[in-house]
């Protein structure tokens, strides 16, 4: 499987063009492409990643922006506010500013309003209008009656909340995107950490063998009998809840299976001729492990990573559900789902939207992983 590392170089001239050879990697790729479920999974994953990472650039709200006027509003494709509620909003503004509302009209994106009072009206009253999420850019267009009547005009701020808002008045769409960024990042980074530790540990243990192997594998057996989810909880609770720590901790507990798989591979590999050749050339153990053993274990390792990523995302969401994940205002899908589960009766969309994205991602990862395993499985050739 070394072919994976080498780029597809132009074939030498001695092979005729119609008899072009196919590397194992190319064969695997062809098989993978034929698997429709796996390809659909891959496309879905790319779409979800684009949604999470590029989406926030196309939405004007930020993930921690609070809209006090729009707390827990259900999802809708219609812009907020709807015209019928504006009158009431302006009335409450008038009463807060201690003036009387005389006229109020909305025309398209602009509004005009006339306030009256028995005393001259402070021009700073515009700020009361601006403070509401619904209105903006209020300016005084006319002053009459020695300042006792003021005409203002301004823009109606229309906001779109296709996913609704949460209990703090934050846009759920942006929060789902941010949650996706964090969940995907934790999933990938933690898998890389477990990949690093597992591959290095397994390859060393398998290659050196003998007593070292015995001790190293015995250690893994002991670690297996530690209640691991509990260990993660302890580590996260006791050492703080930063984002970096969460993926380090998850990665540090998920490497055991990886180490076993790589060790098994290594045991088979070290009997091969190219390893003997490397030994004959006088390479050190470390050089052989690094240059010859590890690159050759890559196939099963890649397959296993696709199993680890959903596991890690699930573990992170479990931690977030218990309140041990990333801290507000940051969020992850798990944290959003936990929040939604608490408000399921009053605001079911808080659970539905993050859960859809979460389940869709895990579903796609599963299909892609199954497809990859089938594609790389030597029995199927």
């Amino acid at each position: 499987m070394t072919d994976i590392a080498t780029p597809a170089a132009p074939l030498p001239d001695n092979s005729s063009p119609e008899m072009q050879g196919r590397s194992l990697f190319q064969l695997a790729l062809i098989r993978f492409r034929r698997n429709r479920a796996a390809m659909a999974g891959c496309v879905m994953l790319v779409l979800i990643a684009l949604f999470s990472f590029l989406g926030p650039h196309f939405v004007s709200h930020s993930y921690d922006e609070v809209f006090p006027s729009y707390v827990t509003i259900p999802p809708s494709l219609e812009p907020r506010p709807d015209a019928s509620s504006l009158q009431g909003v302006m009335e409450s503004i008038a009463s807060r500013a201690r003036v009387d509302l005389k006229e109020f009209a909305v025309e398209g994106e602009t509004f005009t309003v006339t306030f009256t009072s028995d005393k001259p009206i402070d021009p700073r009253t515009t700020r009361y209008v601006d403070r509401a999420n619904e209105f903006g850019d209020a300016t005084i267009v006319a002053t009459e009656d020695d300042g006792r009547t003021v005409k203002m005009s301004g823009a109606v701020d229309r906001e779109y909340f296709p996913f609704g808002t949460d209990g703090n008045g934050r846009d759920l769409l942006v929060r789902v995107m941010l949650g996706g960024q964090i969940s995907i990042a934790v999933g990938v980074l933690a898998s890389l950490v477990s990949l690093g530790i597992g591959v290095l540990y397994g390859a060393t243990s398998g290659y050196i063998g003998g007593r070292v192997d015995n001790v190293m594998m015995r250690l893994i057996e002991i670690l297996y009998s530690l209640p691991f989810v509990f260990l993660v909880v302890v580590l996260v609770v006791f050492f703080g809840r930063s984002f970096i720590l969460i993926f380090l901790v998850i990665g540090a507990v998920e490497w055991l299976d990886m180490a076993r798989i790589v060790r098994g591979q290594t045991l088979a590999l070290k009997r091969r001729e190219f390893v003997s050749a490397a030994q004959a050339l006088g390479l050190t153990d470390w050089q052989i492990i690094r240059r010859h053993i590890i690159p050759n274990t890559i196939g099963p390792v890649i397959v296993f990573v696709t199993v680890v990523v959903p596991k890690v995302i699930l573990l992170e969401s479990f931690l977030s559900f218990l309140g041990l994940g990333v801290q507000a205002p940051l969020t992850s899908w798990g944290a959003l789902i936990a929040e939604g589960a608490n408000n399921i009766q009053s605001a079911p969309w808080l659970l539905i939207f993050p859960a859809i994205f979460f389940v869709l991602t895990l579903f796609s990862l599963n299909f892609a992983g199954d497809g990859l395993r089938d594609a790389l499985d030597p029995k199927d050739r």
């Binding site: 057996e221 002991i222 009998s225 530690l226 209640p227 509990f230 260990l231 909880v233 302890v234 580590l235 609770v237 006791f238 050492f239 959903p310 699930l314 969401s317 479990f318 559900f321 218990l322 041990l324 798990g334 789902i337 936990a338 939604g340 589960a341 399921i344 009766q345 079911p348 659970l351 859960a355 979460f358 389940v359 895990l362 579903f363 599963n366 299909f367």
Partner: protein, 307 residues
Amino acid sequence: MFSFVLRRLASAVPTLFIVVTISFFLMRFAPGGPFNLERPLPPQTMANLMATYQLDKPIWTQYGTYITNAVTGDFGPSYIYKDNTVAQLIGKGLPYSLELGFYALILALFGGVLAGTIAALRQNSLLDFAIMSVSTVGVTVPNFVVGPVLTLVFAITLSWLPAGGWGDGSLRFLILPMIALALPQLAVFARLTRGSMIEALHTDHIRTARAYGLPARTVVVTHAMRAAMLPVVSYLAPCAAALLTGSAVVETIFTIPGVGRYFVLGAINRDYTLVMGTVILVAIFVIVFNLLVDILYGLLDPRVRHD
């Protein structure tokens, strides 16, 4: 066989010891303590508390005391749930978790094996595809989504079943948490069974059994099933240990007074002894079930010899 069990139990002792040691020191080296509240206690009170619980002694002395006490079955007092020892807390919570976990395990095992076998017998049919899709959903949807959704549908909207609590312990109260707990495991069992059953159905001895003209039911149930159960049985150990010691998530959602919550509560409150108690409990369950499964393995597959 008897000596095998004895040897396995003997080798469990050092494993348990190492588990206890790692957890003990991991917790103690972390910042914070059980009495570091948001409003700091007066220094004298703090000192008295530390002295009462012997937390002012050097860590090695504390470790020694803990180990000697634990060997005699004394897991110390809980720091947070005052007036309760850890043994009492676990003794109170464990029966709930055991009962719920046992039902969930039965449901997951039999449901999963049945679904997996049906899928394998009708391989690549619509039924197979449906069962496998549902089981993929089961694996991917975490139980903290399944739980609230079940509550919303069956308890709140349809009001067929209670939304949570243990009540009088009747089955009505157990159905929803049982499903939430069992579903992911059921899905795993179904996938495992399907895979190994398909393989088993292609072996020579099954072909022979079919050639003898044995009824299809006998071939599947008595011949193929036996071989197909091996991976299922090896997954049974971690699964049973996890289900029977309670799930923090399910117990929180359905407000069940089980033992699963104690670990998380204990860790958050830095209740050292409670965390240690739950760690030991889970480790014992894992070790015992691994042993049981190894014995079962030998019974299913006569080629496995314990000598």
